[in-house]
Amino acid sequence: MADYTSAELLTINAARLLRDGDVVFVGVGLPNLACNLARRTHAPNLVMIYEAGVIGAQPTRLPLSIGDPTLVSGAISVCSMYDIFALYLQRGNIDVGFLGGAQIDRYGNINATVIGDYLHPKVRLPGSGGSMEIAAWANRCYIITPHQKRRFPEKVDFRTSAGFLGHRREREAARLRGGGPQAVVTDIGILEPDESGELILSALHPGRTIDEAKENTGWDLRVSASLRFTDPPTETELNILRNELDPGRIYLRGGE
């Protein structure tokens, strides 16, 4: 079995969730790498869309921000910020959105706004950006995050973007266009929503244990009856990541 970093593990498992032909709202960092990995393996027709208004980018270097000029030169299309959110996301043209946040709770709701009280925050985070809309309107959402207890509270301090709210029924009642979070990929395993919308442990990465997952989760984590182990990263996947996509190891070095 190959040796790999936690970032590589997350990226490879996120890439495997993507399907050929998916139209993906991409963020920088690991989601960007995951999409490019998928394109070079099982999803050559994946379409990458950046919220800066770029469709079908062909970057020749790793972008630091989602508005990097390398995403624009040679792209298929560029449109305004209003259009990328209205015509693409709100219209229902986005299959997959990637999300992250400081806190993810039992029902997949995300906090990227504040730790503590909103008006007198202990920690003021960057805020929603596009995640409020991505979480609501992308057909499927995936979350990539390190598995730490403080990141997985029972309930988020501030609901920046919607998972299943208090129950899958509540999300359905809110008539949101998208299907909500489909998977949370962590360095321990994968959480997926059950029929109630609660995130339960559905997979462990090779060598990880249920106890590790439970210990690092802030609620009483349930385990799927069909718990599986993820396939270890392949040589092909690792080679593409290391040699083609992030040779400088800007994103892949870290444990996060």
Binding site: T113, G130, A135, A162
Partner: protein, 300 residues
């Protein structure tokens, strides 16, 4: 009628203490030179609006120009936090008003369109709607379901950096076009800064690229390299190294002050700033040519 004037004059004439200022640009074309000139002129009590405040608003907050910020993502894109703004908010010294990207941009769209509000589909992320009274609901008269609406954003002044415009202010932008057009139409006054002032015939050779017509523009300023450390597509690269180094600088208020003293107060204008950056930075940010394939408009 030419509206050409130095940036310092445009800022003096069209940016007033207490104004709601929108310096446009989503990562691309952020008018840093205008922000620095506002700092040099000691403007006060400004309300700054932008989807992504970026470093320029962090610097203006640090310089004491700002009473309040309106934003949807208060980060250093791809790096992390905006430390000055964050500290001021955590300390209760800076007012703020917060949106998601789409509701922020919908406010600008409403302002640009002359509409009393823009509707959005529900997101069910009720906490932001609860803390910001500018999120309201109406009932869709066709389905009977609730719809979220936000009011227009109408800046007192919009500052828009562009690749090229003529002396009257007919302005063309390519690459990421973010919300420049919407900001200009939403605002009462418009300052255009440009990498190049070109003859009207260049503009007229490609009317589809003109996002901002002269008659809504108040001032035209020729400011090459206006956007650094942001970038101008086709003219120079984004200075990612500076974006990373600001994360270090902004850990210390003293270092921030030293930065402002040296790079803002210490230079008279953008051309001195650019000179001061030096040949190595110039070389690092230089870009090669990749031209659009021309299109034929035909002679009729």
């Amino acid at each position: 009628m030419s509206k050409l004037m130095p940036l310092s004059e445009a800022i003096r004439k069209y940016v007033h203490d207490g104004d709601l200022v929108y310096a446009a640009g989503f990562t691309h074309l952020i008018p840093f030179a205008a922000g620095h000139e506002i700092i040099r002129q000691h403007k006060r009590n400004l309300v700054l609006a932008r989807a992504t405040p970026d470093l320029i608003y962090d610097q203006m907050v640090a310089a004491g120009c700002v009473r309040k910020v309106i934003f949807s993502y208060m980060g250093n894109p791809g790096v992390g936090s905006l430390r000055v703004m964050r500290a001021e908010i955590e300390a209760g010294r800076l007012e703020w008003e917060e949106y998601s990207h789409f509701s922020m941009i919908s406010r600008l769209q409403a302002g640009a369109s002359g509409l009393p509000f823009m509707p959005m589909n529900p997101t069910a992320a009720g906490d932001l709607e609860r803390v910001n009274p500018n999120y309201r609901q109406v009932i869709d008269p066709f389905s009977g379901s609730p719809v979220v609406v936000v009011p227009p954003l109408k800046p007192d002044v919009a500052i828009v950096h562009v690749q090229r415009c003529d002396a009257e202010g007919n302005a063309q932008i390519w690459g990421i076009i973010g919300e420049q057009k919407e900001a200009a139409f939403a605002a009462e006054r418009v300052i255009v800064t440009a990498e190049e002032i070109v003859d009207e015939s260049i503009i007229r050779s490609d009317p589809n690229r003109t996002l901002i017509p002269a008659f809504i523009v108040d001032a035209v300023c020729h400011v090459p390299y206006c956007a650094h450390p942001s970038y101008t597509q086709g003219y120079y690269d984004r200075d990612n190294e500076f974006y990373l180094s600001w994360d270090e600088i902004s850990k210390s208020r003293q270092k921030v002050q030293e930065y402002l003293d040296e790079w803002v107060f210490g230079v008279p204008d953008r051309s001195a700033y650019w000179e001061k950056l030096g040949p190595e930075v110039h070389r690092r940010l230089r870009v090669g040519e990749r031209l659009s394939v021309p299109v034929n408009f035909g002679s009729y």
